[in-house]
Symmetry: C7
Subunit: 288 residues, 7 copies
């Protein structure tokens, strides 16, 4: 403002024109630099999001990358031209201190009160960008498990088996568990009575598993089933662990099939299950 004032208070018209020219030159330089900067930013965004990505192509789809790219472009467009605009305003002599101070106070308020929002969006960006999960995946986040129904920049919507939808802000998503791997484990243990022959029980079960595998009775099987061995000797007998792998989302059904098979096999061979045991010292008392 002083520049303008001084030049207006100046002595000759030539001086005035010179001053105006200088100001126009400055504005032009600012705008050109802003334009160039934006061009560079846009190319970086495109490179980052739309390039051919060899090491994880299946998870990141074209559509999502374009959405992210256009979002990032808008954000940088507004940022660059906000700064350029303020520099122009200052060049023509309008004091932007109050504008900036207000922005600073607002920034503080955002920083404290709305940090959850910023956190949500930043986390959401990385969830999408890194392809941690896709719509339709069965995932576990915090104490919630279910099928991803919708992924957004701020929230993720997960429908669990109970039918309810869990709406989780992305900032709360610190650890994701993705259950869509190739071989998902179905594993449980069965207690065998102490008197039974462990070797025989294992042999009998392995035989039944072999037969079921040959008959194709177990759906979506990837590996196993087999008896891992003795995983505990406790009050209730000798625990045998049964292990198998299934296609994603079939592990629960496979587990139920295997439990039934194990029960029937042990019954058929007369091998008894183990229940807790106890010694009791009995002191008969007079009737009360």
């Amino acid at each position: 403002m002083e520049t303008l004032a001084n030049s207006l208070n100046g002595l000759t018209v030539a001086d005035g024109l010179l001053a105006v020219g200088k100001v126009l030159l400055q504005i032009a330089v600012i705008l050109v630099i802003a334009r160039l900067l934006l061009g560079i930013i846009n190319r970086v965004i495109e490179h980052m999001l739309l390039r051919d990505d060899q090491h994880r192509p299946a998870v990141r789809d074209e559509q999502r990358a374009k959405t992210l790219a256009s979002l990032l472009k808008s954000v940088s467009f507004y940022t660059v031209f906000f700064v350029a605009g303020m520099m122009v305003l200052e060049s023509i002599g309008i004091n932007t201190a109050s504008l900036l101070a207000a922005a600073g106070v607002a920034g503080l308020a955002i920083g404290f009160g709305a940090q959850n929002l910023v956190k949500d969006v930043v986390s959401g960006f990385f969830i999408l960008f890194e392809g941690q999960f896709r719509v339709g995946d069965y995932v576990g986040i915090g104490n919630v498990e279910g099928v991803v129904e919708q992924t957004g920049l701020r929230t993720t919507w997960i429908r669990s088996f109970g039918g309810e939808v869990h709406i989780i802000p992305n900032g709360e998503v610190r650890q994701v568990t993705n259950f869509m791997g190739h071989g998902m484990r179905a594993m449980f243990s069965v207690p065998i009575a102490f008197e039974e022959d462990v070797e025989r029980a294992i042999a009998v079960l392995e035989e039944a598993f072999e037969k079921a595998r040959e008959e194709g009775a177990l759906e979506n099987l990837v590996a196993g089933p087999k008896v891992l061995g003795v995983t505990n000797i406790g009050e209730a007998g000798v625990e045998l662990s049964i292990w198998a792998q299934a296609e994603a989302m079939s592990q629960w059904a496979l587990g139920r099939q295997l439990r039934k098979l194990v029960k029937e096999t042990l019954d058929a061979h007369g091998i008894k299950l183990g229940y807790p045991r106890r010694h009791v010292m009995m002191h008969p008392m007079e009737p009360s």
Copy 2:
């Protein structure tokens, strides 16, 4: 102030008029820009809130969108004219530093002490904007479940089945569980005694379910009921899991109906339930 002072200390009336003119010009430019900015902001708000929204039309109602829009418009109106006002004050030579410093200190105080309030309102805005739930929905927030009775910018009021109202600040609402889906699950498990034939028990139950379905005895049924299979082999027998889906809010009643049906069916076919088993080594002692 210096501008004004200099011009008043100036030499000629012409210079004074020139200075006053410059000031008036500046004020005019500021006000015009503020007005234009407000126009743009308002149009963005309307576009964001009142546009035709295809992917979630049922949850967001017209009324709420209008409320949000008018609220946002008020906030931006006061913000823009506060900044413009300060720029005008500065133009006519009144130092606004003290005003801004006071605002800064206040901003700090808000930032620290009242961040809960800002957090509540920001969260509340997004709950309304994203339509996470509506008045009348049965939802779960934190350790509270119940029917939403009132949704505001700062708090959400939920009435649980016990009759009490839970008033939850929106900033505490980090994860929402919405129970208003189409098929809500009713699921429980029944232990069958080890001696019973698992195949027969499943067949008998499926037959009873089929009959109940045909007779329409189960209200608000969406899918099932069916026996999922053997989900546990434990101390208390073989656990069978029963699964069904009901309309929202009917899952509890359906669960009670199914439990009674299962009990009656098993009784009718003489299939015994399983209770925990134990081996006891009995050592008789002399009477004491």
Copy 3:
């Protein structure tokens, strides 16, 4: 200060008078604006707190609104005249930078150390303003339940049934549970022995409830009592859930009445309660 100094260093008395006049004018403008601002603020406060409020008139009483209004008016009075005062000081040439810097440091100290205090008052304001509870209400806050004895801007005093007073800072009050609704639930479940006929047990209980209702034996009853159905099949028999609603604060007494009624009814009809069951394999050992 420079203004004053310059004018005092000035050349003629006329210039001095002119400068003094300008300063007086500035002070006048500042004071007038401050006064107007205060008037607007006061009217907003009154509108917000004392207007006729249709949607929740019962909870907010006249007395409290007036207290809040006068408090808010004091706060804004001191704030506005603090800022105006500093602007006046600056106009007459006293540098207020040190004052403001001290205020800034103090603001920081408050921001960090005393944020609990600010948080308490802000929360307290909203508890009163939104009418979340009134003196005499039975509420639950955190792990405390009791009758509200006193509500203040900083603390809430709750007397629980044990007779002790819990003094809770309002900043700790994040989720309020208000038990003063119309129909408060009294609900419990009774285990029936497996051998009993579930249909008959339900019929017998419903009959007894009907009779008690007709005789008006149940005080403060709002709805029910009725048998909801079978809510669990467990080790200890078939669980029936009994449900009723009472006037606020009567739900506990009603629950006790109903439990006694259920016990007497089942006894009268010879329906046995269920206790846990267990299979024991008895291995006699030689006396030790």
Copy 4:
């Protein structure tokens, strides 16, 4: 400094004297304002702390109020004269920027590292000011219960029944439970065997209570004792709840007296207590 320098570089002695006079005038104005401010603050403190307080006179004692008042006066005295001192220094041309910057850094360090200290003192002030408890009260703070032995601005010392002293910083005192009310509850429940007549058991107990009350056998009794009713039907019989109120600190002794009375009364009338029940299916095995 510039003012002073300019005046010293000035042309005539008269100008110098004028400048010195102006500086002295400024200092005088600053000191007068500081004095007046202090007077006002002191009067506010006295009004706040020493006024006749109708609604809670018993808890706040004269002595404590005077301590708080003198403390607050010291704090405001140092604050006001620190600010005034810096303004004087600046008036005579010494730059206080470095002083203030150092104070700012120190303020930051305090803000972060020593916030616990500030928090403790602020909380302590309000505990004393609001009279949440007095020396000798039996209170509960966090997971500690005991008699308050000493209250300070930074810590509260509580001696629990075990004899140990708990030293709690006031900033940790978020929720206080004060057990010094008039009628403190003594309550417990007794299980009655299923076979017993509930009506008779209640009548017998009420009769015994009546007698004990008449004989004055129960010390410090405020209300009750009476049988509230059936509060649970469980595995171990029908639970009756006994309720009474005692003078503060006598509730535990009263509870012990009542338990003994209940035991003796039930014994005298041959009413059996309830123990858990269980069905056992006994499978005899061959001796092992």
Copy 5:
């Protein structure tokens, strides 16, 4: 710098001398004020730490007070002369802005990263200053109990009975429990069988306690032992609570002595202890 530059660019030697004189005067004033300030601070420290303290003389020893005083004096010496030094540098025309900015950034880094350190030292100072415990005291801090072995400004070293040393930063010490009181409680409860006469059991125990007291068989006894009364009526009989007080650190040994005495007394008088009771409905099954 401007002052110096202006004076060097000045017109006459006299003016130069005058300017240099002014600067020297300023430095002198700064140093004198710093010295005076330091004197005042030192006297305050001595008054605070070394004065005769009536209300807690035993805990605070001379040695520790002197250590604290010399520490505080060093800290204030460096602080005051750092500020004075910078003011002198500025007076002779060297810009200290960069120094202060660097200090500010460092202060920020300290504020965030090293706040634990500052917190530890501040807490440590108050632990020493308030005399919360001494070396050799048996204290409880957080989940640790033991004898204080070493107290420092940053950490406290506690050796627990197991022999291990716990090194706790003072910032983690929020609540201290000091077990060095005069009468430390030894308390436990004994279940008496339902059939026993409660009056007689109490009388027998009191008699045994009386005898043990007279014989001086209980070491370090302060008060008791006595039977408090019936503190519970449960599944396992009537619980009697025994209470006594011992010298600090002797309460555990006293508890062991009393338990043995109670056991022997009850045995000698044939009063049976109570064990849990249970009703069992026995259903004989055919041998399996």
Copy 6:
């Protein structure tokens, strides 16, 4: 800007050229210093990451070090030239205050909202740099255990035995447990009946272990197995602890082999396992 303006408003062409020359000189100096600084930084990075590292060579591979080095070089390149660029802009008279203010607000926003991101990357850098684990290691982080599948700057991907992938932001990785040591423990305890001879049981087991070791029946054995001794005397007998060490990832299989071996050995020598013991006082009641 003032420099430039003043020189343009200057008197002669020579002066103008002089001013332009000065500006060019400044720019040159800035760029040269920036270049030198960058060279130094690059050499430090290379030294830090690519030097021969004696004390942990196996964990840090060449490839990863190069990736980290190029990343660090890019970051420092952009930082140095951003600062240099702004200094150049300022030299030629363009005010960079608004640019910096915007950067400051953005920095604040990042500081608060995106601190998780910065924290993740900083932690990730140190995980890679310190070689805490490698792809293929079996590690435990928080409540997750599994094989590391992918390590990045922001997240670590761990596949647990169940087949699911856990995606953990590096900022959540506070404590890493690496299970890839040489001798991983397989340890469990077996309860022996009270009547058995402890010496004999230990001897028998040690003999069986010796034999298995000689036959090479235990795969991947590193040390042991041996009987540690009696680790508990409880309700269920005397507990013997068995201890062995295996190659990493083989400890679970070894544990299962040993459990089976222990069971068979005890059976072969007729040593009975211990089950919980209980005394029962039997009161016969009349049939109900």
Copy 7:
């Protein structure tokens, strides 16, 4: 810059030389002060770390002290010359504001995002400096126990008995438990049947302990073993506590030896262990 510009725009060569001389003088003064400051800091570091330390010499080794000293010296060297460099730059007229602003923003980013790193290093420094533990010590940190394998400025590596390495950032190390004391406790309790004579059981055990001590059968014994006394009277009998002290790391082996000794001694003298007791009221039912 103004200084330089003014001098170049000045009138005579003499003035120019004078100005250049002044600048050179300032630079010299700055560098000399920086050098002196560094000398003082280095001497303080050496004094702090390398002095003869009487009260804890064994834990702090020469090697570590030298490492810490050289690290601290580097840090202070870079800090002092960074500040001095910026003061020199400013003296020769280059504006360092942008440099400092960038540093400030970076400091903020570090402050928020990387505070964990700073916290780790500060904590690590004090762990090394105070000698809280050494490589080879058996320590407990948080929920981890094991032998310290490596201590660094950022992390501590602990190998637990299971063979796995726990890598803990030093910032997470808030409370350290060091198990390397002279007499580590081995303590356990044994339940004796109610019928046994407590006096005799204690005498028999003390005799066996005496004998084992005389025979030197207990390795690494420091104190004890002895029977502390009766520490509980419970459902399962009278609990006797056995106590002993061993050399560090031998307490577990000693505990196992003592348990075996106690078992054998009680068996040899026919003193029965206690098991839980229970009264059962037996109601025979008709066979089902």
